[in-house]
């Protein structure tokens, strides 16, 4: 009985670990492909002079976005299960101070 359970427990463990990594690895591949396709499209548009602000643009490292943009990057607000985001206003204010300090 124990041996049977042990086998199933092992099966669950390796299946779970493999599934989690495979799924997320697939998603990484998919996202990378998607990003390349959209960038190529954006480049093609830019070269034909019809670039839009939907273009995925690189921002130099460590140059902070505006505080609002930083907050928007991870916008999840208003959910009972994510109530903690109500403190996001305070975080945004904090980030604004950081940006101003650096600008100054």
């Amino acid at each position: 009985m124990l041996e049977f359970d042990l086998n199933r427990a092992l099966e669950i463990t390796y299946s779970g670990v493999i599934a989690a990594f495979i799924v997320l690895a697939f998603l990484i591949g998919f996202t990378t492909l998607l990003s390349r396709l959209t960038r190529n499209k954006a480049r093609a548009r830019a070269s034909s002079g019809t670039a839009t602000n939907e273009t995925a643009s690189e921002i130099p490292a460590h140059v902070p976005l505006t505080a609002t943009e930083v907050a928007d990057t991870s916008e999840i607000a208003g959910s009972p299960h994510m109530d903690d985001w109500k403190s996001y206003g305070r975080l945004e204010a904090f980030l604004s101070r950081g940006v101003r300090r650096r600008d100054g």
């Binding site: 124990l2 359970d5 199933r8 427990a9 099966e11 669950i12 463990t13 299946s15 779970g16 670990v17 599934a19 989690a20 990594f21 495979i22 799924v23 997320l24 690895a25 697939f26 998603l27 990484i28 998919f30 996202t31 990378t32 998607l34 990003s35 959209t38 954006a42 939907e54 273009t55 995925a56 643009s57 690189e58 921002i59 130099p60 490292a61 460590h62 140059v63 902070p64 976005l65 930083v70 928007d72 990057t73 991870s74 916008e75 999840i76 607000a77 208003g78 959910s79 009972p80 299960h81 994510m82 109530d83 903690d84 985001w85 403190s87 975080l91 980030l95 950081g98 650096r102």
Partner: protein, 382 residues
């Protein structure tokens, strides 16, 4: 006198009294401390009500007439243990509130969301080991699976898996998951400081690129198809999560998006939390297994945190753009508290380090990762 003998006062025992006090405690914490009020407040009410004897509120007899069954018993049976529709409905709302931008901008951080699922497997094995070394048959394989999922640090996923695998433990696993999610601010920082050097905590990550609307639309649709094809049993959670997200990102169905993230989410929360609270019956809760689940939940959260941080350090051996290991701990889900903790601890070392957007990647990936692992558990054990 017959009336007095049949009253709740006559049937009340010390266990009921103790749990009514626990319920009042939940409500007090929600009101005074404002800690997880949307969870603790309705749950506290459920706990109080289920421990008032003689009400039959949680009774459910499938063979009897529906009118003879209790209100919470019916809700529990049809929305959780039988159809299990409340957690997916909550995922619909959460999907509408989620932004996949950070994942799309830096996809490699998704691996951290997978690594942080370590806690699930550690808790699963420890639950089995507890039964082996202490009380025989303390937890069955299914129960160990339900306990392990607590390590995913995702309330609806824990409830979904528990309802399928071990409905008797649902009340406890849900409360433990939500309690530790609210407590990550105490659990994670010491481990994060212990496992990282000051130099690692100061790593500034490359600012995330802007993500186009096309990417934000194609990602959830593609991810939904890929995940469901790979792990079909995760479909109820993943499909609803992605549908909710597509509602929001499409921009053409604002009423549906608003309904998902407000009305549906709120209605589902009311029934889910009161019903889970109503599972806190004295006979069920006052047991050795409850203490064991609480301990295992803590181990699960800690190991998830450790797994994410160590995997980030491992990644740094191979990647050109270094990852701040602090964002690894956000892979345990607990959205968005875990991401905020990564940011806060990073700023202790360097106030100009903005880790929050980077931490949201593993944070949201953790939600996907735990739903996938729950799907695997259900497909093998369910």
């Amino acid at each position: 006198m017959e009336f007095l003998r049949e009253s709740g006062f006559a049937q009340l025992d010390w266990g009921n009294g103790l749990l009514i006090l626990v319920g009042i405690g939940f409500i007090a914490v929600a009101i005074i401390k404002r800690a997880e009020p949307y969870v603790l407040f309705p749950m506290g009410l459920g706990i109080i009500l289920t421990n008032l004897p003689g009400t039959g509120l949680t009774d459910f007899d499938p063979s009897g007439e529906v009118q003879a069954s209790g209100l919470f018993g019916i809700v529990f049976h049809y929305t959780l243990s039988f159809w299990n529709i409340l957690p997916p409905l909550i995922f619909l709302g959460l999907g509408a509130l989620t932004d996949f931008g950070p994942i799309i901008a830096n996809p490699k951080t998704m691996l951290l969301g997978a690594a942080a699922q370590l806690g699930i497997f550690v808790a699963f094995w420890l639950a089995l080991a507890l039964g082996f070394f202490t009380t025989p048959d303390l937890f069955s394989l299914k129960e160990a699976g339900a306990i392990g999922i607590i390590g995913g640090a995702d309330g609806p996923t824990t409830i979904f898996a528990s309802a399928k695998l071990a409905p008797d433990l649902l009340g406890i696993t849900a409360v433990v998951a939500y309690s530790y999610m609210a407590s990550v601010v105490f659990i994670q920082p010491p481990l994060m400081r212990l496992l990282t050097t000051r130099r690692e905590r100061a790593i500034q990550m490359r600012t995330l690129r802007e993500v186009s609307k096309v990417e934000k639309l194609v990602f959830p649709a593609g991810a939904m198809i890929i995940i469901i094809l790979l792990v079909p049993s995760s479909a109820p959670l993943i499909a609803m999560f992605m549908i909710g997200n597509l509602f929001g990102e499409s921009g053409v169905v604002p009423r549906l998006s608003n309904a998902a993230s407000n009305e549906i989410l709120n209605i589902a929360t009311i029934f889910l939390m009161i019903t889970i609270g109503a599972q806190w019956n004295a006979d069920r809760v006052l047991a050795l297994s409850t203490l064991a689940i609480m301990g295992l939940g803590l181990v699960a959260f800690s190991c998830g945190t450790i797994g994410g941080i160590l995997f980030a350090k491992l990644m740094n051996l191979f990647v050109k753009d270094k990852v701040n290991p602090l964002i690894g701990s956000a892979g345990v889900s607990a959205v968005p508290m875990a991401a905020r903790i990564s940011h806060t601890i990073g700023q202790e070392t360097d106030p100009d380090n903005f880790l929050l957007p980077h931490a949201m990647g593993p944070n949201v990936s953790g939600v996907i990762g735990s739903a996938v692992v729950a799907g695997v558990f259900i497909s093998i054990l369910g």
